[in-house]
Symmetry: C2
Subunit: 389 residues, 2 copies
């Protein structure tokens, strides 16, 4: 209670400025009139703010494409991508991707490399990220002012400390501090599913929804939660590890020490078992098999029955614990046959007390594709930037 910030008059203008900028960054071009309506400010305040931002090159005003309406069209206020550029990094188990993202969320350029089956030693990954960033920034003629880094692991958001990233075989890596010391810009390191949730909330399927759970399935299973419009974090900034909910007591042993974690029942290895593929089948092989099944709903239902049951049961628990209005399934889950995804959604609605109360939670596949974590990492980086541009 005592931490409630106390607003002072001289904070007000800065606050209005960053709120307006956030609206343009996330919502895209707006007319001055629309900005006034959305922010509840009068037009002269909007004029002062927009003129100030235009003068410093953060926004520009442009005549919109001719429409059918009569009369003089209103000028559109657009964010200038180059006015604030951030670095987004997505560290995956076999693959690292970087992108430079401009104000407004546009990817200005990108690069990526495989780890060729080796798990990336942290120092090696850091060096590669720093070098690739320098090359990319040089090519584009921009300099990132902040960075966001997505890691598939247990991450302390306050300082970007990676407690454990099992599938990378990282433990206790001070990734945030090490990267910030070299890049000399603020670095936000977060769990990949948290960043996935942020991206879905701001730019994806969950746009406009205030209570969302994003579930990612790669080698591990993770979850990110948006509650009342904000990222849900626990103590010390750690986010929950949905994949380590025990769902099948006495089941397979998980690296975390428990048996029957959700991850062991619906992660990539479980999907390979269900599809009768070798445990280390390449991702492409899994996807090809799932695509084939998409055309044969009966066969899909039969072969994936157990997998689907564990997926459903875990989602029932997630919905009963968190009461979201929308669950977005990402990564591998998006490759499941559509008929099965529909069945999962219907079962979750039927079997979850909280879904029945809320009036029916929606379960949908992510549409942001492979960029989802990169986009989320960029937004984490932008969070501190929009107040100071």
């Amino acid at each position: 209670m005592t931490s409630t910030p106390v607003a002072r008059p001289d904070d007000v203008r800065r606050h209005n400025r960053s709120t307006l900028l956030r609206l343009l960054h996330v919502g895209g071009p707006h007319t001055r009139a629309a900005l006034a309506t959305e922010l509840g400010l009068n037009r002269s305040t909007i004029k002062t703010l927009v003129d100030g931002l235009a003068e410093s090159g953060v926004v520009e005003e442009r005549v919109p494409r001719p429409g059918r309406g009569a009369g003089r069209p209103s000028l559109l206020v657009l964010p200038q991508p180059q006015a604030a550029v951030v670095l987004a990094v997505d560290v995956q188990v076999e693959h690292v991707a970087i992108a430079l993202v401009g104000l407004g969320g546009q990817i200005l350029g990108r690069n990526s490399w495989n780890l060729h089956g080796r798990t990336g030693e942290p120092g090696e990954v850091i060096t590669h990220v720093v070098e690739s960033t320098a090359v990319l920034a040089g090519d584009l003629g921009v300099q990132p002012v902040a960075a966001g880094v997505s890691v598939p692991g247990v991450v302390r958001r306050s300082d970007g400390h990676v407690h454990e990233a099992p599938n990378l075989r990282w433990t206790e890596v001070a990734l945030g501090e090490r990267l910030a010391a070299i890049l000399r810009i603020p670095v936000q390191v977060g769990n990949d599913a948290e960043f996935g949730a942020v991206a879905e909330h701001l730019r994806g399927t969950a746009r406009g929804a205030q209570d969302v759970v994003y579930v990612s399935a790669d080698i591990g299973v993770g979850g990110g939660v948006i509650a009342q419009g904000s990222s849900l974090r626990g103590a010390a900034g750690y986010v929950g590890e949905i994949g380590h909910m025990v769902i099948r007591p006495g089941g397979r042993t998980c690296y975390c020490g428990n048996q029957g974690c959700w991850e062991t029942e619906v992660g990539e290895a479980a999907l390979c078992r269900a599809l009768e593929l070798a445990p280390d089948s390449p991702r492409g092989r899994v996807i090809v098999e799932l695509r084939r099944l998409a055309g044969r709903p009966d066969e899909a239902r039969a072969r994936l029955a157990e997998f689907v049951e564990w997926l459903t049961l875990g989602l029932v628990n997630v919905v009963n614990l968190l009461g979201p209005q929308l669950v977005v399934l990402g990564d591998l889950f998006t490759a499941l046959p559509p008929s099965l995804l529909e069945q999962v959604g219907a079962e979750v609605r039927r079997r979850s007390l909280v879904s029945r109360a809320v009036g029916g939670v929606r379960v949908e596949g992510s549409k942001l594709g492979a960029d989802v974590k990169l986009l989320g990492a960029a937004e984490a980086a932008f969070e501190g930037v929009l107040d100071t541009v």
Copy 2:
């Protein structure tokens, strides 16, 4: 994003006033100097605010009890309990309690009645609450300005609609609207475990902790979550139903339609089974048996082994999903033998990945006793009041 409130200069004083009042309400008497430090405001601003509140009778200033320090003691600023009184109602399965609570959180008077084995029909409960409140308010010479009502069920916080309170046999009761129409004051209706969490956070074991889960065990099992200092709610203001996390697939059938819900494994009925008591044993009988076992740790461990395992497993899941720093166990759980509670805490720390990351979640029994939900309901009522006193 677009809903970020935009502060205006004339909001600042009102904001400071209610922040100061909240500090006194929750934190108790403060000197002016301590208020200035806590709120980060200068002494002349504090003087203006305190003088204004004293003039309207909301606070008073008093010489503290003589201490050992030299010099003139600072005056203490105290909230005046009568300046704002709220009604708190705790609807339980066999029992309803009401209290009038003054500014500062003091219970000024209370009343309660048994439902004598009948489940209370909503209209009957409403009538009894209204009549008892009138009598109590008359006796005390006060008038409540808002009400908070705790219900063991699935409640929509926005309008106090009770979707389902199975153990009361209530479904779709517009409790908030019906009570507000008669009492003619704002009424906040909430889930009992949510209100328990609020009380623990503001006035109990979890005071000062920002990430807390409160788990209540009565006939049902419920949970309330404080995340980053605020009550966690999902879509439409429904809070999660922790008790309906499926933890033992294929286990006992729960009224919610699933099998092996946490509630069916660690609720009062499960405890009776573990203690080999009749399923409908009175609460007192259960407590007597638990007290007896407290003196015989080996017997307690043996007889409650399975119960404790399900309690532990559920808490591992709760900790892995939500990452709290503290779990407070309420109601019946507080009567478990202390040696078992310690064992549960140690096992949760050992078996939860997120606890290991965070550095060890604490698991503690509630110390607020039977008043916990009443106190939480009062705080829900005060929430809207402190801005307008």
